[in-house]
Each structure stands twice: as C-alpha cells, then as structure tokens.
Point group: C2
Chain length 191, copies 2
C-alpha cells in the first residue's frame, strides 16, 4: 500500500446547519498534488436495524426522503443521541419508526457511505425476538411499515422505491447470517 498522502492544508470551505465541507490540500507520496473536498461527519453516529420476526420477515419503513423529494423504502434508522448505547439506540429507533421492540439485539456490520468524500459509518444491528412497543419519535408523520420475506430480496429490488445501497447490503448480510445459523441448527439436530 502506498504511503498516505501528506495533508498540506485543511480548512472548512462551506457550512450549514447540518453539513460541514472541508477541503484537503494533499501531496501524494509520488509528489502529485490534489485538492480534495469531503463532508465532515458530526455527532455520535448512526444506526440501522434489520429486525426479523419469527417468519423470517424483515421490517421496512416508507418515509419521505428529502434527497429525492419522494417516499422511499428502507430499513429503520436514525442518529444516536449523545452518550446513548448503540443497541439501545437501535431499539429506540425501531420502536419509534415501526411500533416494535426487540429482546435480542446484536451488531451485524459497519457500513460506510462514500469513503472518497464522506467519513460516515452506519452501524447495522440485527434485531430479533420482536414484541409490539411504540415510542413517540420526532417524525413529522407516521411511517408506513411493511414486512417482507428476507429470502425474497430480488422481489424487493424490483420495487421503484427500494434502492438504498446500505439497506440492500444489510439485508443480504443478515440473510446469509440466518441461513448459516439454520445450517448449524440442522447439523446440531443431526448429531
């Protein structure tokens, strides 16, 4: 791997309520110079929840998405509150957005968005053993909640409003995990 480029100068070039853009003047190890821009990630992080019921169905929410000015389907997700535990944040977002809580929560994977110009990471949590539990959130309107079989991801991909890379990656990873657990279970039953 090449040596890291040297950061010659780093400064904030634009800022709004939610976004902060930094420019990096870089000198690469071969002498090449470039100016990069990146979005600076702020706050304690973000969490996304793959919540699976006993029928291997995953909970998806349909929410207004400002970037597309349209309603999009995705996994429940949200920002951690300062000092909040990761699994507690996952369960809170699940209750606020879907009306379910989970008795079993575990980290599944950590996903980045666009490493070339964003430092953001999303912690994906696998949630199981669900029970009905609502919690008042800060959503402007209630979200539509849908259950889809995690074994039919291809049908989901045919929907016009399901296209978010991180949600799709999380579903495939969770499905692979469930399939392996079932295989081990089958082996254990044979022994």
């Amino acid at each position: 791997m090449p040596r890291h480029p040297k950061i010659i100068e780093r400064k904030v070039v634009a800022q709004s309520r939610l976004f902060k853009v930094e420019s990096l003047d870089l000198e690469f190890s071969n002498g090449a110079k470039r100016t990069y821009e990146r979005l600076v990630s702020r706050g304690p992080g973000a969490v996304m929840v793959v919540a699976i019921n006993d029928q291997d169905e995953v909970i998806l929410v349909r929410e207004y998405a400002g970037g597309f000015n349209d309603y999009c389907l995705s996994l429940p997700k949200g920002l951690l509150e300062p000092g909040e535990d990761l699994l507690a944040a996952a369960n809170r977002e699940l209750m606020e957005e879907t009306g379910y809580g989970a008795r079993q929560l575990e980290p599944l994977i950590s996903l980045s968005l666009a490493p070339n110009y964003m430092g953001h990471l999303m912690q994906v949590i696998l949630a199981r053993d669900l029970y009905p539990q609502t919690l008042e959130g800060d959503e402007p309107e209630p979200l539509e909640v849908e259950f889809h079989s995690i074994h039919q991801i291809q049908s989901l991909l045919k929907l016009d409003d399901f296209h978010e890379g991180r949600s799709i990656a999380a579903l495939y990873i969770a499905r692979e995990r469930l399939t392996q657990e079932n295989d081990w279970q089958d082996h254990a039953n044979l022994d």
Copy 2:
C-alpha cells in the same frame, strides 16, 4: 402512501467547489412543518463496475479515500463525463483504474446513497469478457488492483478496509445473478 409534503421554500444555504447544500421548508399533509437540508446532486451521474473474470473473480481497487483519510477497497467507479454513454463510462473507468477493458457490459442495478438527504444515484454495471487494456486517468497515483472470488463475500467483509455499502450490495446482487445464470445453464444442459 401519504400525500407529498408541500415545499414552502427552497434555497441554497451552503456551497463549495464540489458540494451544494439546499434547505427545504416543508409542510407535511398532516400540517407538521419541518426544515430539511439536502445535498444537491450535480453532473451527469456516476457509475460503478462489477468486473468478473472467467474464474468468477471480481476486480477491486484500493484507493486513497479522503473521507476516511485512509486507503479503502471498493469497486472501480467514477463520474460520467458530459454526454458520455453509461456503458462507455463504465469501460473507461475500468481501464483507467484497473488496466482491464470488458467486451460485455450491461446495467445491473441503480443504487442510492442516503435518500433522506442526498439525491445521488449510482449506476452499477456488470462487466465480463475482460481483456488487458490500460487508459490514462486523472488518478494522482496508480491504484492497487486485487482479484477476489465473488463467492467469498464474507471473507471480504472481514477486511478492515472494505466497508462501502454500495460495493457490498453490488457484489451480492452480481453473485445472485451469476448463480442464477449457472442454474439456467445447468438446466439447459440437462434438457
């Protein structure tokens, strides 16, 4: 699905060389009011390439990623040039970043980044029938090129520098596609 929120006001609140942030004053159909911010997507779009050789290995590149100030592994990708055909752009990026061209190129899926605050879409292209072909790009230094079996995505996920949601989603979708083609092939051979 609820009625779309009304956009009461829309204005640019921050801007840099590469990024443009817009604020949206929204009134939801239930009367709730919110101000959202979003990154405005510019330019003719972006393309990502799943290039597979005859051994079912996919080409990954390791590149300096400004967002993480570190080297990250991902699928080859880049921006379309104005007026450029999608498949031509995919082949150009593949040649520039990996030293291979592809005789067979086809759209696989379209992936969004973070619909809640970004309108960006990445067109993923499946590339096959590869041949050595380099092309000079605008990279500040040559990228490291690696071949990994597309049937071992779980091993890739264990690497510290492979975590981009869109690349992971694209690999699973491509693998499912290849597996189905092989199944059809097996059926055809039995008939």
